[in-house]
Subunit: 324 residues, 2 copies
């Protein structure tokens, strides 16, 4: 009997599920609205519908599935399989693994989305050939996942690699976590949007205001990037400064993890030409020469499939470590 | 035939060598001046003399020795067994492992002193009962070593866990590494001494000047601590500020490594009552609640034997991981 794996990328607005063969090739996929507002029951029902859908499409039976991997925004307790809280989903302390296993009879594994993405890039993306790497996602927030000797570094209670919440300047801006000067408060999409609104409110950027129909509150990182591409120097400077702080974060990651590779992903990377050069220059000044010598920085390869392939990698990790 | 292990703590002024049984009990020890100024040949000769000394004292034969562990200040290449450079020893690119193996016929293993100390505290000190811990030494500099799932985390080319050279404020003081605002530039003994001299030069502390016979250049962290204990508020403030920055570093370490335990060692810890409370308070504000919940902070237990027991742990690591 052929064996298969399921990966489920649980997002605030959509669920993307894939059925993978033993090599991690996606042979069927299904996408569905999360319907987060409708609550726990509905969300889980929608998750199960995507799974039934891929099984039907591929004509695969449940008992051919080795395991289901789920990638979800955190904070969550991966060991206990519980989603503790979630900014975009209306649930708290949901024993998701237990519920999915009860509903499907399939062994289920849960990881936070950054850790899942790290596994995805390690096994199916830019990190295929390395044993030690750190994946960093620059998105609404900044998250990370480290692979050490080919395995995900979970930490004692699955909280390792919260790179976004390392303080790189205690006098820096207020972060969503309540601290000042976290990497995330300088270099995330949220931070860039905030800097952009501040600049626009001061009358420093007509371009951004125009792009937002004169509504300061509507300015975000995307508009800031558009303005920067149109030549707005204030917007360009905002990205450059974010790049500077990201570079300090990358340098610190190198000095701590001494990885072979750093892989950068997340939505903000779509505008990487606005900040990456600055980030790399600062990184080179921040990192010690020993670990800098052997590290390379790559962009994530999985694109919009990173959540899905990450979830598949969560399901397959044991097999991949053994055979891969 | 009974088996034994050798540990050698190589310092800039002294060599301390111990012979350990299979449980890591020291059954003979030998201490000798390094004679660093006399050069490479002499240093290695002195190392060998301490080894011959412990073997003679314990009436143990060379062929009963499983391995020799050496802890040395870095930077070094542990995998290749080469000391790359050293601030206190007059050598560069010395293939120390090869030379010791050629001279003694004993398998030799080399680690930097902070990593060796981490192994020592893991197996023989405060970390005996934990699987995931980070050891941080606060001394002339600030170094670290992480134990992940009971094994030393080396990084790709043995440069992992350089916590002292993570930037926590890019506008901070100049560090020995050439960067600004490394943790080491705020909270090491060297940093405290610098802040103390700056304060004394400004006429802010008569006590420190008195303790240094009015010679500003002679003020160091030890004098600053003496003045602080005598009630000098400027000196107390210097330690408190170092503690604040150390706390940021500890919080960052928690957010990255998610360890069960952080162990603090190094000479500056002798004055821990001057800064540790501030460090822990800041750490609690810096760390995320998830990883903070499960971490404890302890002082190193091995005291002046940490270098020696670290070296023994380097020699015994394979055995300890298997049996311990």
């Amino acid at each position: 009997m052929k064996e298969y794996y399921l990966g489920l990328d649980l997002g605030g607005t959509k669920i993307l599920t894939g059925l993978a063969d033993q090599e991690g090739n996606i042979i069927a996929r299904s996408r569905r609205d999360t319907e987060a507002a409708a609550g726990e029951e509905t969300i889980i029902k929608n998750m199960i519908l995507t799974i039934e859908d891929v099984l039907a499409k591929a004509e695969v039976n449940k008992d051919q599935i080795v395991s289901l991997g789920i990638g979800s925004p955190g904070p969550l307790d991966a060991t206990k399989g519980i989603i503790i809280e979630n900014a975009n989903l209306p649930w708290k302390n949901v024993p998701l693994v237990k519920k999915m296993e009860a509903a499907l009879g399939i062994k289920t594994l849960l990881k936070n989305d950054a850790n899942a993405a790290a596994l995805g890039e390690k096994w199916f993306g830019a990190g295929r050939k390395v044993d030690n790497m750190v994946y960093i996602t620059i998105s609404t927030g900044i998250g990370g996942g480290a692979i050490i000797e080919r395995e995900l570094f979970n930490g004692t209670n699955d909280n390792a690699c919260e790179i976004g919440h390392t303080v790189i300047d205690p006098d820096g801006p207020l972060c969503g976590c309540g601290k000042h000067g976290c990497l995330e408060s300088f270099a995330s999409g949220t931070a860039i949007g905030k800097r952009a609104r501040e600049a626009a409110a001061k009358g420093l950027s007509k371009e951004m205001l125009e792009l937002a129909d004169q509504i300061v509150e509507d300015i975000n990182a995307v508009i800031c990037a558009q303005a920067a591409y149109q030549g707005d120097e204030v917007a360009q400077e905002i990205f450059k400064k974010a790049g500077y702080y990201l570079g300090i974060g990358l340098g610190n990651v190198i000095n701590i993890f001494n990885p072979e590779m750093i892989i950068l992903g997340g939505g903000v990377m779509k505008a990487s030409d606005l900040f990456l050069a600055e980030a790399l220059a600062t990184m080179k000044k921040t990192a010690l020469s020993g670990p800098l010598e052997i590290v390379s920085v790559k962009e994530a390869e999985l694109g919009s499939d990173i959540g899905l392939m990450g979830a598949v990698a969560v399901a397959m990790e044991d097999r991949l470590v053994k055979n891969g």
